[in-house]
Structure formats: C-alpha cells, structure tokens
C-alpha cells in the first residue's frame, strides 16, 4: 500500500431531516491508489455523492460523525479550514454532476478556470481584491499568466477555439463543453486526486465517451488517482481499474473491475449487473430491481440490502455483516459469501450455483 493516495475508513456522514437523522454514509471504507481509476457505483440515493463531498469536506449540510479520511497520510476529518483550503486548491479536485449550475453563470468560463490557477499559484494568501480582479490591485503579470494557463487547460480538455471560448459565459456552452470546462477548472490546480461525480450522466453517448477518454489520458499523463462516481456500470467497466459497489451508505463489494463485474459475489452486485442493458444478450430483456433503495433515516441494523435480497436470512437483518476478502483485493460484505472460497481464483468455483439470485424473480433463463 505504498502508493495509496486516499483511504476512507468506516466513514459515517449524517443529515438532519424532518423525518429524523439520515445516515447517508453508514460506515463506508475503500481506498484509491496513485494512478488508479476507481469506480464508485450504486443506485441514486446510495450515498455516493455524499461520500465524494465528504472526502473534500464539503459535506454541507451533512456532517461527518465518525470515521477517518486520510489523504497522503493527513487525516482530513480533523483538518482545519486552512489545511482543507490548501488540500482543495492543490491536491484534490472535484467535478460535480449537473453541468448546468456548477459553473457560476455571471463569470466568463476562462475567468473561472484562471481563478483556480490563481488559487493554486497564490498559496494561502487570498486577497479579496486580487480575486475581484480590480485592475489597480492585481498583479498584472500573474493575472495574465493565469489567463494564458486557462486557455492551455481548455485546449487540454479539447474545448474547440479555447481563445475565443474563454470569454464566453456558461450559458453559451453546450452541456458537454460545460463539463469539459468543469474538468479544466478541476485540473487547473494540478491535483493528485480527481473526484468525478457522475461527470457524464447528463450527456449524450459520444460526448460521454470523449470525456471519459479525456480522464484516461489525463490519468496517464499526470499519474493522478481518480475516483469516478457513476450509476452506470458500463461506464465503470470501460474506464476503471477497480470498482467499489455501494448500497445504503455501505460498501457491498469492492475489487478489480474484471473480477467484480464478471464474477460478482454480492447479491446486490449481481442484481445491479442484471439491470445493466450492456450485459445482456440480444434476446434478453432488461430486468429491474424490485423495490427501492432503503430509507436511510435512522440507519440500518444488519445488511441494508436484506429487504430486497432473495437470499436474506434472519441473520442478515441484525448484527454486523462480516467483510470477507474472497480473493486478494476483492472484498465482499455478505454472510452468504462462503468463507472457503477465500483465495479461490476461478470464477466457476466461487459459489456459482448460488448466484441464481434474480431479485425480481422473473428473468432467469
């Protein structure tokens, strides 16, 4: 684990709502290595986005109740505001979902990228007047350098006519271009870790592929770690090295993409795969997962998936669910995972008869 960049350990993030305390993240643990793309998958409402925001400590209005987020050896859950600002400005960047509103509508795109460059270059002394860009107060050379750098970054993320586009406003960009601009904002600080929260969800397939390719290239060039959050297994399968499957604020299964997606051990992962149209043959129908994600108010006792799982026993509904490392680096949080499969390399031997899960009970051949 020498090159482990990020380690999330037993993270709990809660929200207060009218109905009670929502346990949005309920004991999640996983890690991201340098130069590695990790996919974080799950249905909406499973706590992916809150996990992402908790990592850069923008969990508002939630609050981290317990757990540890260590980045490069620093514990971010205990860091003060100034440290966090430095981490956000230099080490970790995030690309949010919904490209419509993530860029400030009243500033030109180029300015918003250049601002990120300035934060990165300017260190901790951020004067209000510097950032308002009031001409007499700003350092002319540094200001222009940041602007040039912004254009460079726009070129890197393949925005056409970067010079002209820099002066345009977000509403003049298409969704895909806005997301690229957002990527440029994130890359401006030359981060070691990039968190991409559903970066392609709102986009069409071609644009999506372009942006994912971009993330790949950048990972190769900069040796960044990437945490790619998505509800789309197909995207994760194409792009990621490792995958973390979340449900009900907890990690159900994690491991190398090839293993987890071809030989899933957790009933939830299997159900999720069956719902993904890309995994089907020509004549098969897409199956759906019956029921809806659990109400996270008050948290769960036992496995959060128990209510929708056909294999659930009474043991699943109470007490701790053991996390079993079935293969090296492949962890599963399920009572049903046979302990004897530990270390068994082949897919066929690892409890294959059991995976006739069919959470909806309908589409088994």
């Amino acid at each position: 684990m020498m090159n482990e960049l990020l380690r999330v350990e037993d993270l709990h993030t809660h929200f207060d709502s009218d109905q009670g305390t929502v346990h949005a993240v309920d004991g999640a643990s996983f890690g991201v290595n340098r130069g590695e793309i990790v996919g974080l998958v799950g249905e909406s409402g499973c706590g992916k986005s809150v996990t992402a925001r908790s990592i850069i400590r923008l969990e508002d209005p939630g609050r981290i109740v317990s757990g540890r987020i260590s980045f490069d050896g620093r514990d971010l859950t205990r860091a003060d505001e100034a440290t966090l600002r430095r981490v956000r400005g230099e080490d970790i960047s995030i690309v949010f979902q919904d490209p419509h509103e993530t860029l400030n509508p009243v500033f030109p795109i180029g300015d918003q990228i250049a601002e990120s460059v300035r934060i990165h270059d300017g260190g901790s002394s951020q004067g209000l007047l510097d950032f308002l860009g009031v001409p007499p107060f700003r350092n002319r050379t540094a200001w222009n350098r940041a602007e040039d750098r912004a254009v460079e970054l726009m070129e890197q993320v393949a925005i056409p006519d970067p010079n002209g586009s820099a002066a345009e406003y977000p509403h003049e960009f298409s969704g895909g271009m806005r997301q690229r601009a957002m990527l440029a904002v994130a890359l401006a600080s030359d981060p070691n870790l990039l968190i991409a929260d559903e970066p392609t969800t709102a986009l069409d397939t071609t644009t999506q592929a372009g942006i994912l390719r971009q993330i790949w290239t950048l990972r190769d060039q900069r040796d960044m770690g990437v945490l790619l959050i998505s509800h789309d297994i197909g995207v994760v399968a194409q792009t990621c090295d490792r995958v973390v499957v979340m449900y009900g604020g907890q990690v159900m299964e994690s491991g190398p993409v090839d293993e987890v997606l071809t030989a899933p051990k957790h009933p939830y992962t299997r159900a999720l795969l069956e719902c993904s149209p890309r995994n089907l043959g020509r004549d098969e129908r897409v199956s759906t997962l019956e029921g809806s994600p659990p109400d996270a108010v008050g948290g769960h006792d036992g496995c959060p998936f128990a209510d929708r799982c056909r294999l659930a026993t009474s043991d699943c509904r109470s007490g701790d669910i053991p996390v079993v490392e079935s293969d090296p680096g492949h962890r599963v949080a399920c009572i049903e995972t046979p302990a004897d499969s530990r270390g068994t390399p082949t897919v066929a031997a690892s409890g294959q008869p059991r995976n006739v899960v069919a959470p909806d009970g309908g589409d088994e051949k």
């Binding site: 925001r53 430095r86 960047s93 509103e101 993530t102 400030n104 509508p105 209000l128």
Partner: protein, 313 residues
C-alpha cells in the same frame, strides 16, 4: 433589441399617462382654481377684474384639451410655464432645487447600500444565528420607523445634545449627513432584507460548492461568487427604492428645512401655485419611470443569461 423597443414604447405610453394625470390634477380644486390661487397670494377674496386678468394672463380661458396640448408641447420644449406666486419660470425654480434633492438621494442611497449589503450578507451566511436575528429585527424596526421622527431623533441627539452637526438648512457636507442618514437607514432596511433572501438562495447553488471546492477562502466565495449573483435582484429593488427616496425626500427636506424638490412642492401646494405643482409632479413621475427603465436595462447587463443571444456577436 426587440425587447428594448417594446420597453421604450410602453415607457412613452406610461409617460403620456403620467402627464395627463399630472395636468388634470388641477381639476380637483374645489371651486375656481384661479380664485383659489389668488386667495392664497393676496390673502383676500379677489375682485372680478383681477380674476379675469389672471385667467387671461395664464391662458385659463381655453378649454381643457387645448390647455393640455399647449402645456404638453411647451413641456416637451423644456418650458414648464410661469409660476403664479413668483416671478420665476417653473423650470428655473426646479433647476435651483433639483441639485439639493439629487445630492440627498445619492448620499442616502450610498448609506443605504453601505449598511444593507454587509448586514444582509452577514444574515445570510449564518441564517437563524444571532447576527441574523438581530439584523432582521433591526430591519423590521427600520421599515416601521417614520422618517420624520427618525429625523428629529437624530437632530435631538446628534445636533442638539452632541453638537456634531448643524440642525437644519443646506450647505456643505455636514448639512447633508443627518438627512442622508435619516433617509438611508429606512431604505437600508428594505434592501437588507432583500439581500438576505437572495443570498440565501444563491449560497445553496451548485456553483458555490464548486467555488468552495476550488479551495477559495469563504470570504471570496461569499463576496465574489455569491454576492455578484445576488446583486441582480438587489439592483432591481434598490432602483425601485427611488420611489422611497422621492417619498422620503419630501418629508425629510421638511424636517431639515432643506430647499429641494420636496419643499418646493409642499410650498407650491400651500400657495396653490399650480404650474409649479404640475412641473414638480411631472418631473417626479418622469424620473421614476426612467429609473425603472434604467433598472431593467442594468438587470440585463448584470445577468448575462438574459437577452445576449438577441445581439449580433
């Protein structure tokens, strides 16, 4: 461009309405306006001949539409007529007083914004907190305070007890302070409440989260990213506050005995000096309508999302 054109046409229509309303106001006079005006001037019932001469001199014998047309045409040429009670033209009387009122309006606007923006932002940054509660309470008190009383309160405390400023009159900057504070603090209450509401909205927006994720200081997030967005509606309402300024100026000028449009209007009303009343009222209406137009256009400039596509690149 099309929008601009449409906006201009309605503005002209409203201005026409304003002028008719202003001019026909005279018709509200109980009895004969000429007699009423002469009574105020001379202090006794005028003789038949004086009334006839007065009517002749001021063209009051024409039928109403003709008088309106004459007046409207003269007005477009900048001639607002001759005052009944003084030798001056209405235009020159207004010209003498207007700078004082503009000065007061500008100063009180500056004071209002200087109080309102920081107060509203401080409220919104920590909603439900102590600062918020105090600011909201203060704003409500400010809205409820009659500005003539606030004026006297300031005179008693700052001028009579502490002897910091002159009691009344006009002149240098020290004469401006108390009236401007009186007028500005009431206005700041309204603006502060608005800044708070819009800031609360804006601070929830995803782009604020983006700004924070860049590692920006909270101060810059609030004053650059959030405030600039919140300013759009604030400018609108602040502009519409001009109505408040003009309403308030009438009273505040009376309190501090400043020669301005307000005192000119009040004096003209008591003297039944109709041309002056019409002139000042029309001016107030025009200022107000044009401000609304200006606000609308500023709004479009501040928010790049509006109406940029219509323009040639």
């Amino acid at each position: 461009m099309r929008y601009l054109l449409k906006r201009l046409v309605t503005t002209v229509l409203v201005l026409g309405g304003v002028s008719i309303l202003t001019f026909s106001m005279t018709a509200l006079t109980p009895g004969d306006p000429a007699v009423a005006a002469l009574v105020e001037q001379t202090g006794h019932q005028p003789s038949e001949e004086t009334v006839v001469a007065f009517r002749e001199q001021h063209g009051l014998n024409e039928p109403f539409p003709v008088r309106y047309a004459d007046w409207a045409i003269d007005t477009l040429g900048g001639d607002l007529g001759q005052s009944y009670s003084s030798e001056q033209t209405v235009a020159s009387m207004i010209g003498q007083r207007l700078p004082n009122t503009v000065e007061l309006a500008a100063a009180s606007m500056v004071i209002a914004i200087a109080i309102a923006v920081p107060a509203g932002v401080a409220s919104a940054v920590n909603p439900g907190g102590r600062v918020d509660y105090a600011a909201q309470f203060g704003a409500l008190v400010g809205v409820s305070m009659p500005n003539f009383w606030l004026g006297y309160l300031l005179i008693i405390v700052a001028a009579l007890w502490l002897d910091l400023f002159p009691v009344a009159g006009s002149g240098g900057l020290d004469h401006l302070v108390l009236p401007a504070v009186t007028l500005g603090s009431g206005m700041s209450a309204v603006i502060a409440r608005l800044v708070r509401t819009t800031m609360l909205d804006v601070l929830d927006a995803p782009y604020i989260r983006t700004a924070r994720s860049k590692g920006l200081r909270e101060r810059i997030v609030v004053y650059k990213h959030a405030l600039r967005n919140a300013l759009v509606p604030v400018v609108t309402i602040a502009g519409l506050q001009l109505s408040y300024v003009l309403n308030g100026a009438v009273v505040v000028e009376a309190v501090f005995q400043r020669p301005g449009l307000g005192t000119l209007l009040v004096d003209a009303i008591f003297a039944r000096d109709y041309p002056v009343i019409q002139g000042v009222t029309l001016l107030v209406g025009v200022i107000f309508v044009l401000t609304n137009l200006a606000v609308d256009l500023t709004y479009r400039y501040l928010d790049p999302r509006i109406d940029r596509r219509g323009e040639p690149a």
